[in-house]
C-alpha cells in the first residue's frame, strides 16, 4: 500500500531519481500551460486571462478526489501522507506578503523557475529576489519567530476544522471550482482583451 517509498516498497536509492522525474513533469506541465509568462499569470487579477485559476483549481480538485479515492480503494493510506501544519497567523500573514509579492513580481517560486529555464530575464531577477527574501527572513528570525512558531494548530485538515465528512468537503469544493470556471469565462468576455 502507498505511499511506496516511506513503506519501503521502492528502494530509497530511487528517491532522487524519482524527484528529478517528478520535477521534470511538474516543470513541463507548468511551462506548457503558460506559467512561464508573468503577464499570463497576472491576468487572473485583472480578468483578461484565468489560466491560473483554471489550472490551479482543476489540479486541486483532481488531486483531492484521486487521493481520497485511492484511500477508499486501499491503494494508499491517507493517514501516512504529510499534512502541511496549520500555523494560523503565519499562514495568513505569509500569504498576504506572498500576495503582494505576486502582483509586484508576477511570479511565484515554481513559475519563476520555469521562466528562468526558458530565458525570461524578469524570472531570473525574481528568483534572485526570492533568495534575498529567504536570507532577509533568516536574518530577521528573532523578530519573526513569535509569528513563525505561534498559533500552531498542528497537522489539521478541514475535516477537523469543519467537523464534516471529507466527501462533503470535496463535493462542495468541486462545485465551487466549477462555478468559478463559469464566472471566470463570463468576466473574461466582458474585460478588454490584453495581448502579450
Amino acid at each position: 500500500m502507498g505511499p511506496l517509498i516511506p513503506n519501503g516498497l521502492i528502494p530509497l536509492e530511487w528517491n532522487y531519481v524519482i524527484a528529478i522525474l517528478i520535477g521534470m513533469a511538474f516543470g513541463y506541465i507548468l511551462e506548457a500551460s503558460g506559467f512561464s509568462s508573468s503577464r499570463k499569470l497576472a491576468g487572473v487579477f485583472y480578468g483578461y486571462d484565468f489560466v491560473v485559476l483554471k489550472v490551479f483549481f482543476t489540479s486541486a480538485v483532481v488531486a483531492v478526489i484521486g487521493i481520497f479515492y485511492m484511500d477508499y480503494l486501499n491503494l494508499v493510506d491517507i493517514t501516512q501522507l504529510y499534512v502541511h501544519p496549520t500555523y494560523l497567523w503565519a499562514a495568513i500573514i505569509g500569504g498576504m506578503v506572498m500576495g503582494v509579492g505576486f502582483l509586484a513580481g508576477g511570479f511565484c517560486p515554481g513559475t519563476s523557475l520555469c521562466a528562468v529555464a526558458i530565458g525570461k530575464i524578469d524570472g531570473i531577477v525574481f528568483t534572485i529576489g526570492l533568495m534575498i527574501g529567504i536570507f532577509v527572513f533568516a536574518e530577521l528570525f528573532d523578530v519573526l519567530e513569535p509569528l513563525f512558531v505561534g498559533s500552531n494548530l498542528g497537522n489539521i485538515t478541514l475535516v477537523d476544522s469543519l467537523g464534516i465528512s471529507p466527501y462533503w468537503i470535496i463535493f462542495i469544493f468541486t462545485i465551487i471550482a466549477l462555478v468559478s470556471f463559469v464566472i471566470s469565462d463570463i468576466i473574461r468576455k466582458k474585460v478588454k482583451k490584453v495581448f502579450y
Binding site: 503558460g34 488531486a63 496549520t86 503582494v100 523557475l113 527574501g133 497537522n155 489539521i156
Partner: protein, 178 residues
C-alpha cells in the same frame, strides 16, 4: 500584423483544464510514491543556506534559522529531495520551451512601462514572495496546492490569503500588467 502574431501566440499553450488535469494526476502520483507533495521554494532555501554556509560558515551556524538546516555530520543542505525536484522543474520547463520555440532572452511587461521598471518590481516582488514563503512554511506549490490535495486547513488558508491579497492590491499594480 504584430498584433495578429501575438494573438496566435496565446493558443500554443495547452488547454488549462488539460494542464490542470495532468497536474492533478502528478500530485496524486507524488503523494503515492513519496507521501508528500510538490514544492518549489524549499530548493531555493537550500540554495541560500548553502551559499551563506560557504561564504560565512560561522554566521550560518550561529543563525537560529539557517542552523536548522545544517546537519552536524556536514552533509550538504543541497542533498535534499526538493533540490532534485527543482532541477527537474528547470529541465522539464526547458524541454517544453524548446519543443514550442519559446526559449529566448525576454522581459515580459505591459507596453506602458519600461523593462527597467519591470525588473525592479520583479526584484522587490521576489524578495516579498521569498519572505512570505518562509513565514507560511511554503509557497503556492507546497503550502497551497499540494496541501489542498490532502485537505490541510493551513493550505486552504494560505491559498485564500495569497489570492485574496492579490485581488485587493491588484489595483495598485495595474500599470505594470494591463
Amino acid at each position: 500584423m504584430m498584433k495578429n502574431k501575438k494573438q496566435k501566440n496565446r493558443h500554443v499553450y495547452w488547454n488549462p483544464y488539460f494542464g490542470g488535469f495532468l497536474m492533478g494526476l502528478l500530485i496524486i502520483l507524488t503523494f503515492y510514491l513519496t507521501g508528500r507533495g510538490l514544492g518549489a521554494s524549499g530548493a531555493l532555501k537550500s540554495g541560500v543556506v548553502t551559499i551563506v554556509d560557504t561564504v560565512a560558515t560561522t554566521h550560518a551556524h550561529s543563525n537560529e534559522y539557517f542552523s536548522k538546516f545544517l546537519s552536524e555530520d556536514g552533509s550538504s543542505p543541497m542533498n535534499n529531495w526538493l533540490v532534485f525536484e527543482a532541477i527537474g522543474v528547470l529541465l522539464g520547463a526547458f524541454l517544453s520551451g524548446a519543443f514550442t520555440g519559446r526559449i529566448k532572452w525576454k522581459v515580459d511587461h505591459s507596453p506602458k512601462i519600461t523593462s527597467k521598471r519591470r525588473l525592479l518590481f520583479a526584484l522587490g516582488g521576489g524578495i516579498l514572495f521569498g519572505l512570505g514563503a518562509q513565514i507560511a512554511r511554503g509557497c503556492t506549490s507546497g503550502a497551497a496546492l499540494s496541501s489542498m490535495a490532502v485537505l490541510s486547513t493551513g493550505g486552504f488558508i494560505t491559498m485564500l490569503s495569497i489570492f485574496g491579497t492579490g485581488f485587493i492590491v491588484a489595483y495598485f499594480f495595474r500599470k505594470n500588467w494591463i
